[in-house]
Structure formats: C-alpha cells, structure tokens
Amino acid sequence: MADVLSVGVNLEAFAQAISAIQALRSSVSRVFDCLKDGMRNKETLEGREKAFIAHFQDNLHSVNRDLNELERLSNLVGKPSENHPLHNSGLLSLDPVQDKTPLYSQLLQAYKWSNKLQYHAGLASGLLNQQSLKRSANQMGVSAKRRPKAQPTTLVLPPQYVDDVISRIDRMFPEMSIHLSRPNGTSAMLLVTLGKVLKVIVVMRSLFIDRTIVKGYNENVYTEDGKLDIWSKSNYQVFQKVTDHATTALLHYQLPQMPDVVVRSFMVAVTKIRLAVPPKHGARDGERPQKSQTAVVPVCWSSLLPAPVKRAEFGNPVIRPSVACSRTPRFTPRKSADAASQDSPPPQG
C-alpha cells in the first residue's frame, strides 16, 4: 500500500520502520550477548582482547546503523493528520488503561444525548409556536436587543386616573358595587360586592391587578383595626375554590400596554360567577329559576370566563380566553353499609 490514506500516515514507511525496530532490537541483544559471552579462546591475551573489542565494535556499529535507519524512516512516516475531529477527547480514547470510570464512553453518551435533546427541543418549539401562548403583545422573533423596553408609563399612573377607571367600571354593572380605598400607600384596594352572594377583595398595583380574594357575603372583610383584611382566606371551601378561579382569571388576562382593558375584562368575569345547581334538580323545583345570578354552587368553569369582551374604547379587541372546562367536584357519599337504609341509592357525584 504505497498510497497515503486520509489519516496522513505513510503506511509503507511505517512497515519499514517496524522492521527497522526489530533489526535494532536484535542488534542491541547481540551486543549484550557478545558482552555476556566474553572473550573467545585464542592463543595470546592480546589476540583475545583484540578479537573481543573488534566484535564488540561491530555490534555497536550495527546498532548505530539500525538506529539511523529508524530515525530516517520515522521522519518519513510523518505525523498523523492534525485535523482529526476528536482532539483531546480522541486521545482519551486511545488510552489503553482501563480506569474505574469509563470516561470516554460516558463522554460519548453525553454527547449523543445532548444532540438528541437539541433535536427534540427544536421539534417541540416548532409545535408550541403554532399555538400562541404568549401573554404579551410583543411580536415573535424580535431579538432581545431590538425588543422595545417596557413602557414605564403604564406602571406609574396617577392615582386619579386609576380612580376614574374604577368608577367607570363600577357604573357599567348595576348588580356590582366597587368601593376603592388606599389604606397602604398608593396601591388601590377594591372591595367588590356582588349582589348578596359574595365579596371580592382586589389588591392592585397602579392599574394592574395583583391579588384577589373571594369571600362570602356574610363574612367579615375588615380586621380589628377597621382596615380591609387582604390576607385571610374565606372560611368556606366553595369560596376558596372561587378564589382560585378568580386568580386564574386575573393571571389569564394580561395586556401590559392596556391595563384598563384587563381590569374591565376581569370585572366582567367576576360578574359572571354563575354558581348554579345542576339542572336535574332545577327542573324539579318549578318556581326556582335554572341559573340564578346569585346562587351558590360552583359549576363548570368555562362559564366563568366571558365570551370576548366588546371592543374596548380605543378599538383593540381583547384576547379571547381559551380555557378548557373542568368539572368541580361535588360531594360523593361513600356507600352506606346499612341494610336498612337502602331506600334510594345516593346520587352519583
């Protein structure tokens, strides 16, 4: 094989070099043999010494010759190509010592795994981008440098403006009354009373809704000091659940550039807290309307979010909520083991 392969090694010279090494080894062992054998038997001492020295010199010369030959050949062999892709980790693979940690194979596995991960992440991002889950109005693909900085104007609003927006929304809904107070600095706290059913405490930061708590109509919403109590949860489980729903609603409506639209949408969602008894009982009781505005049982929560709110004053449509409906659990009695009480089976929850 006289041709140079892609690894860049001269294979013929390589083979010759290997045989040159063998020659060198044998000549070196000849030297040591000669020394071991010592002087041969001759007539005179000088004769023996001369013969020994000549023999020894011959052997050393042959060693020298072989070494030179080897050096010449090694220059011909050349270095292996420097553009092998593995670099240092490739050298790691050549290490014959078997360590306790199989470093090289683990390295290879990690590399394959990260490649696969990158590939799958690319697929996933492609799929996710089809369904826009973005909460902000920024355009896709705008790099970090070119993204416009968040307008500070929507965060720092004069309190009077906030009051105006709230009072406007208050007038929109007759069955709902909003009371605004500022007990802790500039952030507004709203107490929204919905008919005779519930009270909603909304904590705001300028015009953004921060937190919300829903309590029953008969529960106390003030602390002993007389200030609005914004921390304690409702005593009733149904209103704790409604609080969760309301919090989800406020997280869902997010428009940094148009906070008043967000507040209005949230209030609409609050008024639509339709809490109705399941229809099969509503049909039995003739005098009671099917879905009263003020009844008190949690129901399928897609009805909590309204159809898209009418176009806001400045003409931009509100994002449409798209949440799946989920049944809230009703109480499900465990089976009674009493034989005497098998009048009618308990209703399936």
């Binding site: 005779k196 059913v197 008190v296 308990p346």
Partner: protein, 217 residues
C-alpha cells in the same frame, strides 16, 4: 336596624325506622354521616316553651287566646326568641325569660309544654348538620334533622343544593322546601326563620301519637 343574617337552614323531621327505637335511628343517621366524612363538632340544643294569653286579658267576645312560643337555641346562646304562630318573631336577650315571669298575668305557661331537641353537630365541608332527639318530658318523641349551608345568605338560591345534600344521606325521607324559603325570594335568611321552622316541627311532633316503641333517652 338591619335584620341579622344567617345561613339558610332546613329543619325537618326524620321518621323513626320500622322496628327500631328513636335512639337506634339516630345512631343509624349519625353513622351514615360519619361515613360520609363529616366531623363531629360538639352538641346542640333547641328548646321551646308554650305560653297562652291569660283568660283575663281576653275580650268579651271570647276570642281565642294566642299561643306564644319562647325558644332558645344553643347556636345563639345569648338570645331568646319569642314567636307567635304566624306572627312576628322577637329576638331578645336571655333576660327575656325573667321578664316572662313578671308577665305571669298576661301569659300563662301551658302545662307540660316544654319540648326540646338535643343532639350532635356535624361539619361536612361547608355544611353543618345537626341530628337531635326530640323529647317531651322523659319520652323521646321523634328525630329532628337540621342542615345549614354556610356560604349562602339568600335562602331561595341554595335550596336545590340543600335538597341534593339531604338526599345523599336521608334518602327517601328528604323533606320538601320549608315554607319560609318560599315566602320571600331573594330575601336574606335570618335566625327567626330557623326558629319558625323548629316551632312548626315541634307542633307537628306534639300532635303525633307517641312512638310505639318508646326509646329511653
């Protein structure tokens, strides 16, 4: 002064199971409640005394004397309720009992009229269930079941929910809608409505025959 608000309750009577005593039926009911997952939360007591207007105050036409019921409820320990059959209900503090003694000339207590119900309270999610044994004197006459739904304030809204809950553990003995629920739609429920329901229940039990297998309390 605004009327006090309370959570709507439904007070009904549970008929005694056949072949069992009052005590056993109460135990059956409480066991069912416990299996439902309700937690015991103490005891309750509602009692009622009857007074009728004294003869001396009746007019010459001999109009029938009115009956007045003075009731106490352990849910409102500092109050005393005085109500007429279809008339108004007065909510006073406990000194009213002493006042009744002073009004002996006008209102006389009917004999052996004291009727009361005692039992345990159970809390299940937002519901409060009270199962009590109605006793008149030494004998147990019946069983009272009261269910309250906490979060609501307007009675007509949550009746269907109460009905569904009652069915889950009373089965076929579920009562119909109480009269107080139907009277005023969207009116706020109050403690007086509860006492009116108890008054009706006690009157019904009084008229009933004694339970054949009288259970010892």
């Amino acid at each position: 002064m605004t009327s006090p608000e309370a959570s709507p309750r439904s007070v009904s009577q549970m008929p005694v199971a056949e072949g069992k005593s009052v005590q056993q039926t109460v135990e059956l009911l409480t066991r069912k409640l416990e299996m439902l997952g309700a937690e015991k939360q103490g005891t309750f007591c509602v009692d009622c005394e009857t007074y009728h207007t004294a003869a001396s105050t009746l007019g010459s036409q001999g109009q029938a004397g009115k009956l007045m019921y003075v009731m106490h409820n352990s849910e409102y320990p500092l109050s005393c309720f005085a109500l007429f059959e279809n008339g108004p209900c007065l909510i006073a503090d406990t000194n009213f009992d002493v006042l009744m003694v002073k009004l002996k000339g006008f209102f006389q207590s009917a004999k052996a009229s004291k009727i009361e119900t005692r039992g345990t309270r159970y809390q299940y999610c937002d519901f409060l269930v009270k199962v009590g044994t109605v006793t008149m004197g030494p004998s147990a006459r019946g069983i009272s079941v009261e269910v309250e739904y906490g979060p609501c304030v307007v009675a007509s809204d949550c009746w269907n929910l109460l009905l569904e809950f009652l069915q889950s553990f009373l089965g076929s003995h579920t009562p119909g809608a109480p009269a107080v629920f139907g009277n005023r739609h969207d009116a706020v429920y109050g403690p007086a409505d509860t006492m009116a329901q108890y008054m009706e229940l006690f009157n019904k039990i009084r008229k009933q025959q004694q339970v054949p297998v009288a259970g010892i309390r």
